[in-house]
Subunit: 133 residues, 3 copies
Amino acid sequence: MTEYCYRVDALDDIPAVLDLFTADAVLDFSFIGLPTMDGKPAFQAFYEGVFADMSHHNHTISNFRLDEYNGDTAVMRAYARGLGRSKAGGMVDVDVRYRMNFLRTENGWKITRYEIHPAMPMPDSLEEIHGHR
Amino acid sequence: MTEYCYRVDALDDIPAVLDLFTADAVLDFSFIGLPTMDGKPAFQAFYEGVFADMSHHNHTISNFRLDEYNGDTAVMRAYARGLGRSKAGGMVDVDVRYRMNFLRTENGWKITRYEIHPAMPMPDSLEEIHGHR
Amino acid sequence: MTEYCYRVDALDDIPAVLDLFTADAVLDFSFIGLPTMDGKPAFQAFYEGVFADMSHHNHTISNFRLDEYNGDTAVMRAYARGLGRSKAGGMVDVDVRYRMNFLRTENGWKITRYEIHPAMPMPDSLEEIHGHR
């Protein structure tokens, strides 16, 4: 989860972000009004749009909790504060919860499912900056 | 400490919050201008009031530090950012320090004392939202 | 890194802050427009100025990452949110990244190099409060 933050905040290496996920991973951002994306091609397009639009990203995670662990699979939750500034000058500051399902693979633990849930009311700026992809 | 955040932020299960404390636990919030409460009946009433008033809660903790550890007792400190939105529409955003004393029991570690200390100046919104209980 | 936050936020004990560093440690804050300081006398003067000016400090770190570890040396990174209020009434709220190099000594791990890198755009308040030392 920490590695995801570093990579998505670097805003310069889409393959490094994608490498954290399995090919058939599902990203469900519908709980905060953003798309659900099934498989790498779908969310690659999402991240390409985000990386093209944003000049700064800062995702801080805390309150880690292991929900399930079965040796080769695990489910983790964490609180996340997401700060962003778009190249157009917009700012976004959201408080959400991450829930990630993981699978142990030959290349280390990979994300198979990534959900974002609202914690505080979502600001309009979230839809303005990340919507319509 | 993390579990406390998840339970107090769920805003839907008072017994789950109370279960983290021993029956004779003391909550001393006087350092930030809120009450000191001695024993479960006293702070149960406090949480019932908070849960009735708030629509959103988000308590993020970090900078964990173990101050004392004696096998069956421990004292932990952490930094906490508390975000809240009341059903009446008020917002609160406070930066505080938690200090919790723990006792190992047959049912796991329980909190025997919970202090909140100010970190940044406390906003008026804290008293408006959580005061007068 | 956590201990640094507690000590720099206490704002009352300069020797306790300095004790975390080796005598020849380098503090490079140039990435956020603040000075680079070489050796304890240089950064002691910096902290004396900061402690004289500030009434509140709150540095919250997260997203810990071990970049290098060689038994007696290590490099850590973390995200940091720095909140401050000056005695003159100014507020500062910055999102940065800490990178610290450590050396294992007879007196525990000490910081040999401390860099602060920007995460979000730096506010003018940072220069107003901490600049010109």
